[in-house]
């Protein structure tokens, strides 16, 4: 399994986390993800996820003209999105704990 396949299931949560840190747009999310070390994402793959998050009511978006660059769609978390992010953190905490225990025991 490649790391991008592994990431697929948790990209939703990671994007919620990035947006949680403050209003942002697609390209900036990619740059922020890269700072955290995510380099395997094909950049476009965040957009279907963003569409899904919006459909589920977890994010709110607004189009803004930018003075220099192109028109951009800025995302913020809705209260439901904040709650979803809290739940994601808990799920990830317990999952990563279990995986770590398993992997370290083998070594």
């Amino acid at each position: 399994m490649s790391s991008s396949q592994m990431l697929k299931g948790i990209l939703d949560g990671c994007l919620l986390g990035i947006i949680h840190k403050g209003e942002t747009y697609g390209y900036e999310m990619i740059e922020k993800l890269e700072i955290y070390g995510f380099r395997m994402v094909s950049e476009g793959s965040i957009y279907p996820v963003l569409m899904r998050l919006q459909k589920d009511g977890f994010v709110h978006s607004v189009m803004k003209e930018s003075p220099s660059g192109p028109k951009r769609k800025y995302y913020t978390l809705t209260p439901a999105g904040e709650e979803e992010y809290e739940q994601f953190k808990e799920r990830w905490e317990s999952l990563s704990h279990s995986v770590n225990r398993l992997v370290k025991e083998e070594n």
């Binding site: 747009y25 697609g26 390209y27 094909s42 950049e43 476009g44 793959s45 957009y47 279907p48 569409m51 899904r52 459909k55 189009m63 660059g69 192109p70 028109k71 951009r72 769609k73």
Partner: protein, 253 residues
């Protein structure tokens, strides 16, 4: 900022793919604009359109499409105007020339050919939007399609003349009323779609026939005038569309 040709093509393909998948116009514009913004940022950092699609436009477009709901209501809303326009294209010319008649064959074969050709066009539009064919191949497919449609229409016309009796021939006055209704449908269609060529095209298609009704020429002369009027008209429309496109996307040419 100006996008590369590959990126412009990708955005155009995205629109085409989603449109032929029956997605909502507003949502299509939104994602197209968002991706355009992304591509502008990406290209100014030296990346290509592959950074967005991950190298497979087909998979990527499918992923986007899956997240959008199909706008069946929008499609149903389009249908009545669309059907009216189709009927108007089929009968206005004959009504003006005064040779309109209805036979069983026409009633069945014309709608069937119309539906099949629309289906074929949508199928190829979708295929082209993901397949990355060369311009030459795209053009050949369209010409082949157009030839097949024209030939089947001609076949129906000949079979109709030789083997089928019309069950209804409207009076000359009724035909003029039908022609006027056809003109109304074209005007309504142009207002509704907010495109001028939906009005200009029928004008060139049927305008010469209309004028010829009031002039006394031999049948051959009429045919030549009518046909050359049509091709001149189509030529002018294509030329204007080309100029418009050039003005809007100067870098593409």
């Amino acid at each position: 900022m100006v996008l590369s040709r590959e990126s412009e093509e990708f955005i155009a393909n995205l629109r085409m793919y989603l449109m032929t998948s029956g997605k909502n116009d507003h949502e299509i514009n939104e994602i197209a604009e968002e991706l355009r913004g992304h591509l502008e940022d990406a290209e100014s950092h030296g990346k290509t359109v592959d950074s967005v699609t991950g190298g497979s436009p087909q998979t990527y477009l499918e992923n986007i499409s899956n997240e959008m709901k199909t706008d069946y209501f929008g499609l149903v809303r389009l249908a009545p105007m669309f059907i009216l326009l189709l009927i108007a294209y089929f009968i206005t010319g004959s009504a003006i020339r005064g040779d309109l008649n209805f036979s069983l064959l026409k009633l069945i074969a014309y709608p069937a050919i119309a539906l099949l050709s629309i289906g074929a066009y949508i199928y190829f539009f979708r295929k082209m939007s993901v397949a990355n064919y060369s311009k030459k191949k795209e053009l050949s497919i369209f010409i082949a399609l157009q030839v097949i449609i024209t030939l089947s229409l001609m076949a129906v016309l000949f079979m109709d003349i030789f083997f089928f009796e019309p069950f209804y021939i409207p009076s000359r006055e009724t035909m003029w009323v039908i022609a006027a209704l056809g003109a109304l449908v074209f005007i309504a269609g142009a207002i509704w779609s907010k495109t001028w060529f939906t009005l200009i095209l029928p004008l060139f298609l049927f305008g010469p026939d209309f004028i010829l009704q009031f002039l006394q020429y031999s049948e051959t002369t009429e045919l030549i005038i009518s046909a050359s009027g049509l091709y001149l008209g189509i030529g002018i429309v294509v030329l204007i569309l080309y100029w418009q496109n050039k003005k809007q996307n100067p870098h593409k040419l």
